[in-house]
């Protein structure tokens, strides 16, 4: 699993790739947090397009990044969410703290 971080103006976009589980989460968490604290964006966007698996550890990762983003006053959007990942997210009430954009909503 890996994360690629892109900055554009006041946006910080973290592109996740691979399988996000308890084993993979710690270095991803650290890289995204470092980037948030260093660049203090207005918007944090986590992109799930290239993510092939996620379990509840992914929820922990998103909620944790929401906290870090809040510390610098940034909002959180999670985008390119597959139907399978959405089934996990739906259980968590993440939609109350973040904007969720499903894969199907991203096109057109």
């Amino acid at each position: 699993m890996s994360v690629r971080i892109e900055l554009s103006e006041d946006k910080l976009i973290a592109y996740l790739e691979g399988e996000l589980d308890h084993h993979a989460a710690p270095p991803i968490r650290q890289q995204i947090d470092e980037a948030i604290l260093q660049h203090k964006p207005k918007k944090l966007i986590i992109d799930f397009e290239a993510l092939s698996f996620m379990d509840s550890s992914g929820i922990g990762l998103v909620m944790g990044r929401y906290k870090t983003a809040s510390e610098v006053g940034a909002t959180l959007t999670v985008q390119n969410i597959s139907a399978q990942v959405y089934k996990v997210m739906r259980l968590s009430g993440i939609d109350r703290i973040a904007v969720i954009k499903l894969k199907s909503q991203m096109r057109g």
Binding site: S56, S57, S92
Partner: protein
């Protein structure tokens, strides 16, 4: 009813084995030609149960995780994930969504995921002895042309 096929896996509770366990069980279940969603559901539920063995059962130590997966002629899949770790004091509370005994970034959603992604979750646990989680999933009938 007798299982048509069965596998047993024994592995150390290293976090690196979370991925291996779900992929191995997924490969076994693939013999039944499940739908993409059914397979993803099973892998996610197995990942939750195995991760719990790695995170909670043995504390900072490394113990053993025992997995038995089997399927029946009616396309029922049963997966037993067992540890000989600390056990769960209050199973009802543990299965409550958003409840976690650990801080950090645990969402407390593992059991909720297992429940919503399968057709049945049974938990047996004895404090100081260990925990067995049994997941059941009934696969849809597939029509082959």
């Amino acid at each position: 009813m007798k299982a048509v096929n069965q596998i047993k896996l024994t592995l150390p509770s290293l976090s690196a084995n979370e991925g291996f366990a779900r992929v191995a069980v997924g490969a076994f279940v693939s013999q039944l030609d499940p739908t993409v969603d059914e397979l993803a559901d099973i892998k996610t539920a197995v990942s939750e149960a195995v991760t719990n063995c790695a995170v909670h059962a043995y504390g900072d130590a490394i113990g053993t995780i025992y997995i038995i997966a089997e399927y029946y002629s009616d396309r029922t899949v049963k997966i037993k994930i067992k540890d000989k770790g600390c056990g769960i004091e209050n199973i009802e509370q543990a299965m409550q969504p958003m409840w976690s005994s650990l801080g950090g970034e645990r969402a407390g959603l593992g059991f909720a995921v297992m429940q919503s992604f399968t057709d049945g979750v049974k938990v047996r646990s004895v404090l100081g002895k260990g925990t067995t989680v049994t997941l059941k999933k009934v696969l849809s009938q597939r029509v082959h042309i």
